[in-house]
């Protein structure tokens, strides 16, 4: 056996041994930066891409595409109201260790068809899996209902979205979707992941990030209010007094 023949065998063996890399994602984003300006009212992001293959499309289970966008995670305190002495007051509270400030899952079919539980647990794809809650205080017996409340409340304001059947896939190769991000976004790096699955199993994944930033006046005011709070306070007072005075002066001018 010559050397070149041995090499050819090796390459072929590698191909068989690494089915994960058989299909790869090539991705495009309509924008990889979201600028929060004064007139910011949410943003629509177009995510599109293709599946790169060295071999023909495999037989069997069809290809499914799952796309997730996650805002920066933070600890949130969830409180529950109870009737005490005739009025509704916050009583029990549970700290949810990490809940993304924004989370969207877009899939090409139904999520439960595209992904099995084991893979979901491993990659933390579905909305409930993306939230990490470690422990609840001893006196709270139904900690799960607090996590559900986070999903329900954030879902109601479009911060958590499950967009099933919203990714279009052509010829098992080209895919695209669009995700609408609401106006109430926090700043940070939004992790964007694309999973290719077959028969509920992840065959390939790709990760990139969308940067969400305040810009211009928004950026300047926000930074000033955090880093130089005293100056910001004085400035707020001065601007407010000037604006109030100015408005009444203009009004008097109109009457005269």
């Amino acid at each position: 056996m010559t050397l070149s023949k041995t090499l050819r065998w090796l390459v072929a063996a590698l191909f068989i041994a690494m089915p994960v890399t058989a299909e790869e994602v090539v991705l495009g984003l309509s924008k990889n930066e979201v600028a929060i300006t004064t007139s910011f009212n949410g943003s629509e992001i177009l995510i599109f891409g293709a599946v790169k293959r060295e071999k023909p499309i495999p037989d069997g289970e069809p290809l499914a595409v799952i796309i997730t966008i996650a805002g920066p995670s933070e600890t949130v305190t969830v409180r529950r109201k109870e009737k005490k002495l005739g009025i509704w007051v916050n009583t029990d509270s549970v700290d949810v260790d990490a809940a993304p400030s924004f989370y969207a899952v877009a899939t090409s079919g139904l999520l439960r068809d595209a992904l099995n539980d084991v893979e979901d647990l491993r990659y933390k794809i579905s909305v409930p899996r993306a939230i990490r809650s470690v422990g609840a205080p001893m006196n709270v017996l139904d900690a799960a209902s607090f996590t559900e409340a986070v999903i329900r409340i954030r879902g109601a304001s479009d911060l958590y979205q499950l967009l099933e059947d919203s990714v279009t896939v052509d010829d098992q190769t080209l895919f695209q979707t669009s995700v609408r991000m609401p106006a109430a976004l926090t700043e940070g790096s939004y992790a964007t992941r694309i999973f290719l699955t077959r028969g509920g199993k992840v065959v390939s994944s790709y990760e990139t990030a969308i940067d969400v930033r305040k810009v211009g006046l928004e950026r300047w005011l926000y930074t000033l209010s955090r880093e130089n709070a005293f100056l910001y306070g004085l400035m707020s007072l001065a601007i407010a007094i000037a604006a109030g005075w100015g408005a009444s002066a203009v009004f008097r001018l109109f009457r005269a």
């Binding site: 949410g42 600890t75 409340a149 407010a240 604006a243 009444s248």
Partner: protein, 303 residues
């Protein structure tokens, strides 16, 4: 036109804010009150976070009271000495109020505290004002002028001081306490406290009506400015963009309101103000008593 508020981190319609400012401005111009007690709950309703609403409203009150107090200085209807005594109490109260506010915010009880304060004070003040003006209307209908009791237990307290502009010789303790209470309320409720202070000055301290408004505005400006600074430096919750939009609407509304107010009788005005105060009180009380549709709420950050 949507506008993104940099500190509140929400996007709202700029015209909605101008309109809200305008309507509250008209009411405050008509009745001679600051309108903070109406604006702060309205800001809650349109989705501004309560902490931001309270802090920003304090900033707005400074500005909207500023042109008012200048007018009163020109007419010499400000009792500077009384104002200063009220102010000392007010500054201490505001500092206490912010400490209580921040403590309860960490405990998740700040909404409850703010709402309970509103229900209690609006209920008491609204009720008193309603019956008082009803009596006044009845008396004037009979042809007798309304009279007020001039002397009460307040005049027995020590540390007396002469207030020339108000024509009073009373102890400094009651004005200090009135100032203190108003300061606490300013910090917790995001109000100027005029709706509490004005009745207290008239009925408790026995000050002449013509110096009451100017003096209370004088105290309110400094206390709310102090509150604004405290919120801005400890909570970072003053939103200048929100404040300016509310203000521009508010100042214009107040000018219109003042003109409407001149055409109405004082007793009638007061009874309408009382009805309005009671209505806000009733709405807030209902929120506390009825089961909310969402029992859970989310606060950012751990304990």
């Amino acid at each position: 036109m949507q506008i993104y508020l940099p500190i509140a981190e929400v996007s709202v319609n700029a015209f909605l804010l101008l309109g809200l400012g305008g309507i509250v401005g008209i009411l405050s111009g008509m009745f001679g009150v600051g309108g903070g007690f109406l604006m702060t709950p309205l800001l809650f309703f349109i989705g501004i976070p309560p902490a931001v609403a309270v802090a920003t409203e304090a900033n707005q009150i400074v500005a909207s009271s500023f042109s008012g107090v200048l007018a009163h200085f020109k007419r010499k209807t400000v009792d500077l000495k009384m104002g200063t005594v009220l102010l000392i109490g007010g500054l201490v109260g505001a500092a206490l109020g912010v400490v209580v506010f921040n403590y309860l915010k960490a405990q998740g009880q700040v909404d409850l505290l703010v709402k309970l304060c509103y229900v209690l004070f609006l209920g008491v003040i609204g009720g008193l004002m309603f019956f008082e003006s009803l009596n006044a209307i009845r008396k004037t209908a009979k042809g007798k002028p309304a009279t007020r009791k001039k002397h009460n237990w307040i005049h027995g307290l020590p540390f007396k001081m002469r207030f020339r502009v108000s024509g009073l010789y009373i102890s400094v303790i009651p004005p200090l306490i009135v100032g203190l209470c108003v300061g606490i309320l300013a910090a917790i409720m995001g109000v100027g406290g005029g709706f509490i202070m004005v009745p207290a000055m008239i009925y408790l301290l026995g000050m002449p009506t013509k110096v009451v408004v100017g003096t209370s505005l004088f105290q309110i400006i400094f206390v709310t400015a102090f509150t604004t600074m405290l919120h801005a430096t400890t909570n970072f919750t003053v939103d200048i963009v929100l404040a300016v939009l509310l203000l521009v609407g508010g100042v214009i509304g107040a000018q219109i309101g003042t003109r409407i107010g001149v055409k109405m009788k004082a007793e009638q005005l007061r009874i309408w103000l009382a009805v309005m105060v009671l209505a806000v009180c009733f709405k807030l009380a209902l929120d506390l008593l009825l089961q909310p549709t969402e029992l859970y709420s989310i606060g950012v950050g751990g304990h």
